[in-house]
Symmetry: D2
């Protein structure tokens, strides 16, 4: 069991915008290892970004940039077709904004996880992914990209020495082809904390996951996402952390040693 990777539990955060509140960052932050902070395009505004940075630093949670499409009304979940040069600039801008604000507080940016429709498109569209990867590396060539575990993107990253953190989902069902079960279908989201924990353990130890009404498929991941808007998120994180602690799987990142 020594070979099993330490696990990084992450949540998307800082997605409130002005008076529009999203998620429950205060309650979740103490329970996670890493957060992905929205950068103002699909969600988030500078003031909420700053508060989320402060909260993450206080709880010694690793901080990633969470850039998205420029589409607040669609929360970055609507596919958009943006020319590569413009997309590149959009990504650099968002990462640089968060990185600079974070460094002004003495923190360091740990990774970049693209958001929503951009995240999904990058899983399979390598030309798009290369545009985003080059933009990330223009800002900092050592910044790891967090992306969908088991995707074409992961294959590309690993064969091209792109620092990559494969991510699986604790609270979403998988389909036999390895993609997440669509939110437009019933039983897309796992709300039972025990079931979610079981899925994490299964992926961490067996490098496989049970699919929805289908077979076991291979899946290896270093980071696990729990959605902040999952109604069981706090409960789920409590249960999960206890079990991972028992398995000595929990990463104990200390920011200063990072």
């Amino acid at each position: 069991m020594n070979e099993s990777p330490k696990i990084l539990i992450n949540c998307d955060m800082g997605e409130s915008y002005g008076p529009f509140k999203v998620g429950n960052d205060e309650a979740l932050m103490p329970l996670i290892d890493a957060c992905n902070i929205a950068c103002g395009f699909h969600a988030g505004d500078p003031w909420h970004m700053e508060k989320t940075i402060d909260l993450a630093l206080e709880h010694k949670v690793l901080i990633g940039a969470h850039p998205g499409y420029p589409d607040l009304q669609g929360f970055g979940r609507r596919p958009m077709h943006i020319p590569a040069k413009e997309l590149s600039a959009i990504i650099k801008y968002q990462i640089a904004a968060l990185k600079g604000m974070l460094e002004s507080k003495g923190g360091n940016l740990h990774h970049v996880k693209p958001h929503g429709a951009l995240y999904n498109a990058m899983a399979n569209d390598i030309a798009l992914a290369k545009t985003v990867i080059e933009a990330i590396h223009a800002i900092d060539s050592t910044l790891p990209l967090m992306g969908l575990a088991g995707s074409c993107l992961q294959q590309y990253a690993e064969s091209h020495q792109v620092p990559f953190i494969p991510e699986a989902f604790a609270d979403r069902y998988y389909e036999p082809h390895g993609m997440l079960r669509s939110r437009t279908l019933a039983n897309a989201v796992i709300v039972d904390p025990e079931k979610a924990t079981q899925q994490v353990i299964q992926i961490a130890y067996q490098q496989h996951v049970s699919t929805y009404e289908g077979p076991l498929i291979p899946l290896a991941a270093q980071s696990f996402c729990i959605h902040g808007d999952n109604p069981s998120a706090v409960n789920m994180l409590d249960v999960l952390r206890n079990v991972l602690n028992d398995h000595s799987l929990l990463t104990q990142y200390i920011l200063n040693e990072d």
Copy 2:
């Protein structure tokens, strides 16, 4: 004449947004010493910011951040009342975004010049100015602020050791009380290149300026702004540079020595 300060000619740039074109950056950039690049809130988008950075680096023009109010429809020219904490985050965000994009190209940020209604409000409202200055210094405590020459802000900056670049306007008439003649009145803008050049020379050598139908008043400045949307901007810069060259007043900044 040795004591006369070298002169920094600056223009606001990068204010195009998507397909909406503003100004004539390509023609003006070779003729100026410093540019202030819009950061995406009152104008500018990431792609135009990147193109403007490239253009400025190519012409060895000093680069300042030009943050503004979050008001694209009003171009940051409408006064807004934003709580200090939120305004602080808005300023940090914009500066960090530009600074990070610039550094990814090997450049360095030279100064910060707030835009429009924010620039004007800071000239007299010291509480507001302190919020902005603290935000600038959170990003980089050595970054100079460019602001209105002869204003309360300049007095405050100088008595509090805030790095400050006092700015005068080449192409705007002054009123006897030292403010710019309002654009809502006739004869607010100087379009005659000779007249604008004369005003710059007058301020640079005599530390005074002639006011509109009024007396000579004291005014000292290190940087002179020419508005990119002045119809004579290119002409004016040609004439001005020739005269300044003859007077050996022209700053010859070289980015690597900065």
Copy 3:
């Protein structure tokens, strides 16, 4: 008691934006007489506007337009200075959009209630108020304006034959000078349903209101606002409606007879 006016209980609604949820419209709509629907500038998007229209028509609730400043990030609560011609167009645009969508469902627009910083500014700034009133009347000269009871605006409206619905607040404390106690102070909001109900009854019957640690002052109103984001809103409306029913004060608007 015959002379006491029927009471119109209103709530601001339709303020969600894309995935950003605001308020609890489904629970509140059955309990109110009138709603003010956000029109997409300070909050609301077309899809939420349409859903809110449907919900209001289903519950036979009167529908007002709730236009605001073009400031989503500030939720229309930040004072802005917009030239009169532009503000006029902004108001017409928002009212026309809601009115057209409403009429496409067979409904009729009942009134206009400006939002947030615009509402507050109009209470005292008659020049501003005239701009908004003319914009409203350009769309429909019979549309009543809902505004702050006891304000300069009400005086102006009544002396100039502007259809006007004076509005008081059920869940906010008043100051001795007749303005609402600022949200920046403690005890600005009333959360006790009994206390809120008592305040409504007091205003309705006595045309006076108790002020915060001050004297009774005159105040007459035809409509009472309860804020959808008041944590006691549903409870408060239940209590209030029962008491008003007992007093036969409750308006029983039927849309077709309006």
Copy 4:
């Protein structure tokens, strides 16, 4: 030649946004029969909409609504995937806003022409087109849709009794398959006024068009678009109108008789 249809020359207008100027509406308006006014989502703001309405009414030019995707930064030219219900609301909102503002000036809305990426997508995607058509008819079931001549959309409209104005382009080259030559290729835009006029006459009389380095293909249209940002637009309209006058092809719409 009696059977040749009268010709409606149209331009997209009102696409300025705040201080961002687009096009040359004042010069073009006297030269056209119909304009399509942007409605604030891909371009345009309420104040420019109002000015454009006034200008069109002054010159007795027919007014169409020109709704687009909610993407100012991309000018509505980036394909977006928006759920049907949300798109429907977005279309209704934009049309209602323009229609209400127009009617407040005594004008009447003549047609709806979707913009940019939405226009192009509707030409071939009938499911999408149905969503938009239903939204248009919800506002006014007699409002004609203006769309690409010779497209699947035209076929659908004609076989389903949807009022439809087939539109061809005066200043764009056609490809043999009937689509416009892409702007990403050389020779996409016609700038020679004689050539553009020739193309209009060819389509109007022969119901055919010469394609770029290809054969003559069938094409019938009732309205012809000239792009306001074509550098020869004013010239082109002068030449075109003279020739059309000689051919008695020019529509002489008078708004009151419409």
